[in-house]
Symmetry: C2
Subunit: 155 residues, 2 copies
């Protein structure tokens, strides 16, 4: 019974997170479209916040994404002229991805397009509540990240 209700809470939690993810992704996508999708914006934003000149594998890990998915995202960004991709000279298996001026401008437009959603959210939730929520979610994320290679109880 305790087992059951605990499992129910865990399931409700992840279910709630799934729905929030779906709604927020759709909302972001609508704000950003047609220039970028949320994944593409995420890569540009990452470069502005943490610096560019990263490899596709580094980016894939940073976004908890597979390498093929990142390859596809980077190809689209390159086509749009928002990133430049060149081979590494040190290690010729690697590629180095950098932000172009057009990419920096696109990221800036993305930030602006998302601002109205953030403003509306802050009319309904005070910023302190959201700030407090963040570390709780990070703890949950870290647990799942550590768990990702764990073996199932049933197989």
């Amino acid at each position: 019974m305790t087992e059951q209700s605990s499992a129910d809470i865990v399931f409700s939690l992840f279910n709630e997170i799934g729905i929030i993810n779906q709604l927020s992704t759709a909302r972001f996508a609508r704000s950003l479209a047609p220039d970028l999708n949320p994944s593409e914006f995420g890569v540009l934003n990452h470069f502005v916040r943490l610096g560019d000149g990263k490899t596709p594998t580094h980016l894939a890990k940073a976004f908890q994404m597979t390498k093929p998915s990142m390859t596809a995202i980077l190809s689209k960004l390159e086509q749009k002229g928002y990133v430049a991709i060149r081979g590494s000279e040190k290690d010729r298996r690697r590629k180095i991805v950098t932000l172009t001026p057009a990419g920096r401008a696109a990221r800036q437009r993305g930030v602006k397009s998302v601002a109205p959603l953030a403003r509306t959210l802050l009319q309904h939730h005070d910023i302190e509540t959201l700030k407090r929520l963040l570390p709780q979610l990070q703890t949950l994320r870290e647990f799942l990240d550590a768990e990702r290679n764990a073996v199932d109880g049933l197989g």
Copy 2:
């Protein structure tokens, strides 16, 4: 500056939720496979918890999902013999979906297969923390749900 950092917090929040969703969905999927995927389990679980005999549109709304997506999930569940779908006699546009005994058993296996993850999670997070997190997320979800048809500031 305030605008910028608020937007950053909002973005981090949804980013964190996106990663948690991805990790938890992958983890659930691995536990449930190959019998069910998380969406299919969700429908069976919904029937056990809240009763069956619902229409596809009702289920689509409950899961914040489009009707075509729900059609696809229900077709798979029907193929597997886990739900029965019959036409409504009152309203011949409608279909009524009910849980079969095999579906109830599959849901029970699903609950058991997910239990180890719940147990491990509860070794790292006490249940009270998770219970407190739930309503915070529900509030966020309700906001997004209300916002879903809002007009963008930029267009």
